[in-house]
């Protein structure tokens, strides 16, 4: 008992020293810590949004909406394929079904030809026929792949839009199958950013249908292949937005844009843009054929500008001059550069903490920690005297280990996380209590100090182990269910349980043994 293996001693001292080294940077201010050379531990505890202030946004990608759109376009292409000049196949009941499209061929003899035709035109679909009815289904694999790609794409676009705002510390990650988690430290009012993130930003260029008379426009009933779209900013004298008869056919779409920048032209803010080669060619073709005619630039079903084509635009560069302010021109260029969202987004959960509350929480958490520490330390000293002091020293090392580990792992410390540390302060000494009570008992039963101490440490250990496992089970469960702050509680609780197992047994034992060797007491002072 009085002998402690050298490796245990060295390991214990090493762990203690290393813990303090990793804890130390937290006492420096951030700038000083960051300026330390790389080989010195300089990481600080990563404060959660509830402590440093910031916005936590959980976004759902409405994948099914995008897939529905996709099915609609399949419906269109089936129609084109069947009515094509060479095909001319009669059909009815063409429409969308769950994850697919169905169509009924009028003439049973033409079913085989129709299936062949559709197989050629629609790749990646499983095509079956039953009697005269043909179903085209997105295969499970295609669906899964498409969903994954949609979320990934949406995440990338959200990232670009946030990056463009210069929020360097933002954290954007995929969560689950169809969600994106955005964490924005330091943002107290996320409405602006939410608006920016949520914009579909689908931009298209269309010709206007000049055959539509103002009377027709007033009825609101659009002729075929035309859509009545409101202006984004222009209003009629009565306050209603100006409406344009826009041809549904897309001349060029925003997908072909490669750059957009806000600039000033003739003293007004405008957005200049550049097409890629395909877009430039298409734009040149259309503008060449339609000089003198008006066209519309449509963003998310709203006309932002409807200029007249004065001359063919051949270079692929252009300018959008809507009613922009400097700010809205900048915003539009950001949206155009980052691209259109592949599917609509909704914000399903939002938690924003202002810097004031965050600072208050840190202060309250620290005070609670300090008071818990003082109370427990005082209590342990009153109850166990010198041995209580051993436990208290081990407790200090334990806290250093928790903070050091949090810094090293860059785990996030939240307010419930601080609660976890406070709780650890109370529970960590449990192992010592178990050991000391056992020692008292054994001494009372007539054992010598050395043998009582030995019995205390060895016999209590299996109990200590059991008592540490069960809260750990609770902590691990919590980690998996908890979101954000609550997860932080699970992390500190679990770390605290593991570190206290080391500090309360190994370290106290070390101290007790060295003290025994030096003083050789007749009785344990318990």
């Amino acid at each position: 008992m009085m002998y402690i293996a050298r490796w245990k001693l060295i390991l214990s001292l090493l762990v203690t020293v290393v813990s303090f080294i990793f804890t130390a940077p937290n006492f420096l201010d951030r700038k000083t810590a960051d300026s330390l050379p790389a080989w010195i531990p300089h990481q600080q505890v990563n404060l959660g949004l509830d402590l440093r202030g910031g916005a936590y946004l959980l976004i759902e990608v409405k994948v099914e909406d995008a897939i529905k759109d996709n099915l609609n376009s399949i419906v269109d292409s089936v129609r084109t394929a069947l009515t094509g000049r060479t095909a001319r196949i009669g059909y009815t009941n063409l429409g969308r079904i769950q994850n697919g499209v169905t169509v009924t061929i009028r003439n049973p003899d033409e079913v085989a030809r129709a299936v062949q035709l559709l197989r050629d035109s629609e790749k990646g679909l499983s095509i079956d026929s039953e009697g005269q009815r043909i179903t085209l289904k997105l295969t499970e694999e295609t669906l899964r792949e498409r969903r994954r790609a949609l979320v990934e794409q949406a995440r990338e676009i959200v990232r670009r839009r946030i990056d463009e705002q210069g929020l360097r510390e933002a954290d954007i990650q995929a969560q689950g199958a169809s969600r994106i988690l955005v964490q924005l430290p330091g943002i107290g009012d996320p409405e602006e950013i939410k608006r920016l993130i949520g914009k579909p930003a689908k931009m298209t260029f269309h010709l206007l249908n000049e055959a539509v008379s103002p009377q027709e426009l007033a009825t609101g009933r659009a002729p075929p292949a035309t859509e009545f779209l409101p202006s984004d900013t222009d209003k009629l004298p009565d306050g209603r937005p100006v409406v344009y008869p826009v041809r549904t056919r897309v001349m060029v779409s925003g997908e072909n844009l490669i750059d957009a920048q806000p600039t000033i032209e003739q003293g007004r803010p405008v957005v200049s843009f550049r097409f890629d080669t395909v877009g430039a060619r298409r734009f040149a073709d259309v503008t060449r054929r339609n000089v003198g005619k008006p066209f519309a630039i449509v963003l998310d079903k709203k006309v932002i500008s409807a200029p007249v084509i004065r001359e063919p635009i051949l270079g692929g560069n252009g300018i959008i001059s809507g009613n922009f302010t400097t700010e809205s021109a900048r915003e539009l260029s950001v949206l155009l550069r980052s691209g259109a969202l592949p599917a609509p987004l909704t914000f399903v959960e939002e938690r924003t903490v202002g810097p004031g509350l965050g600072a208050d929480s840190i202060r309250a958490g620290s005070i609670a920690c300090a008071i818990a520490m003082i109370a427990v330390v005082a209590f342990m000293w009153l109850a166990y005297g010198l041995f209580g002091t051993f436990a208290n020293l081990a407790l200090v090392v334990n806290i250093a280990m928790i903070v050091g580990l949090l810094s090293l792992l860059q785990a996030t410390l939240t307010l419930p996380g601080i609660a976890g540390i406070v709780l650890t302060i109370g529970m960590a000494v449990d192992a010592n209590v178990l050991i000391y009570e056992r020692m008292r008992e054994e001494q009372r039963a007539g054992r010598t100090p050395i043998s009582a101490m030995d019995a205390g440490f060895t016999r209590a250990f299996s109990t200590i182990f059991d008592t540490h496992i069960t809260p750990l089970i609770g902590g691990v469960m919590l980690y998996f269910v908890g979101s954000g702050p609550v997860r932080g509680f699970a992390v500190t609780l679990a770390i605290g349980i593991i570190t206290s197992l080391f500090s309360a047994t190994m370290l106290t034992r070390l101290m007790a043994v060295y003290w025994m060797r030096r003083t050789r007491p007749k009785r344990l002072p318990l």
Binding site: R351, G354, I367, V433, L472, I473, G475, L478
Partner: protein
């Protein structure tokens, strides 16, 4: 220095004598809790109910009545306002908005527009119906799995009677905690689940200490009646039970009084859980063993085999 001893050496309290009263008390508490949970339900926080929570700090003392009139005019359904810690802090709760999640976001924007920039937004939380449903589900799921895992662990370490006894004691603590939240209509949110899970682990902790000693004593005193043996084991570990509960309680009390209003509910749940968990490990977990007729045979056999193996 004279050390304080909360429980003097040689304490002999006849815990088992009153075990039937304790059992009655526990049964009543659990029944009342369950009835309250079904009849009265819970005051779910926005984590589980969905909705909007906004904490603002006004310049100067808050005019709650004025704010209420303003916000009620927005047509967002039920709007609750209450003071929160300081005279200039106000907590605004708005019911979950009908329709899509978008309606929820619009409601937040409306409130921000109405209150303007003169107030400090300390906290804005908005949880849509979809997420709140998932959070309930995963909370219930986690609690059940945690209980099961703890039971399996105890079962693995002890006889099955111990596993069941520890689980009943833990379930008892969980039910009474849930009852506390229902009866007093305290706000039940994610941090409450955190408290419940922590207490589930903590309560077993106490139980395990008593069980460990009981198992040791079963081998040591072979002819002592079970009830007397349980009393002895509880008394022997009582000092530790009280001391550990005290240090943990000290820490949680610090959290309750100084940790700020955000974790008030959490610390309250913890305080209750620690007190009740300590009670249950003495009065619920151990008497269960008598009810399950823990056979002494297993332990006696083991000891005898050891003796015969080394003549």
């Amino acid at each position: 220095m004279r050390l304080i001893q909360l429980v003097p050496a040689g304490t002999k309290i006849g815990f088992m004598r009153v075990r039937n009263y304790a059992l009655l008390f526990s049964t009543v508490v659990c029944l009342v809790s369950i009835v309250a949970a079904f009849v009265q339900g819970f005051n779910f926080g926005i984590d589980f109910r969905g909705g909007i929570l906004i904490e603002i700090r006004t310049q100067g003392p808050a005019d709650i009545a004025g704010l209420r009139t303003k916000l009620n005019g927005l047509g967002l359904g039920e709007v609750q306002l209450q003071g929160f810690g300081r005279p200039d802090d106000v907590l605004i709760r708005i019911q979950r908005q009908e329709g899509s999640e978008a309606a929820q976001n619009q409601a937040v924007e409306k409130v921000r527009a109405t209150l303007g920039t003169a107030v400090e937004y300390r906290r804005v939380e908005s949880v849509g119906p979809k997420v709140s449903g998932e959070l309930i589900q995963s909370g219930v799921y986690a609690t059940l799995v945690a209980l099961l895992a703890i039971m399996v662990y105890i079962w693995f370490r002890f006889e099955w009677q111990f596993g069941v006894g520890a689980t009943i004691a833990t379930v008892h603590d969980v039910i009474s905690m849930i009852g506390l939240f229902s009866i007093f209509q305290l706000e039940f949110d994610l941090t409450t689940v955190a408290a419940v899970l922590t207490i589930a682990g903590y309560s077993v902790n106490d139980t395990v200490v008593v069980y460990d000693r009981l198992r040791e004593n079963l081998r040591k005193y072979k002819s002592m009646p079970l009830e007397q043996l349980i009393d002895l084991s509880i008394n022997e570990t009582l000092s530790r039970t009280i001391l550990t509960s005290t240090t943990t309680l000290l820490a949680v009390l610090a959290l309750f009084f100084f940790g700020g209003p955000v974790i008030h509910g959490f610390s309250l749940a913890m305080i209750w859980g620690i007190v009740f968990g300590t009670y249950s490990s003495i009065y619920v977990a151990s008497p269960m063993l008598v009810h399950f007729k823990l056979r002494r045979g297993n332990f006696a056999d083991e000891a005898e085999q050891k003796q015969t193996a080394s003549p």
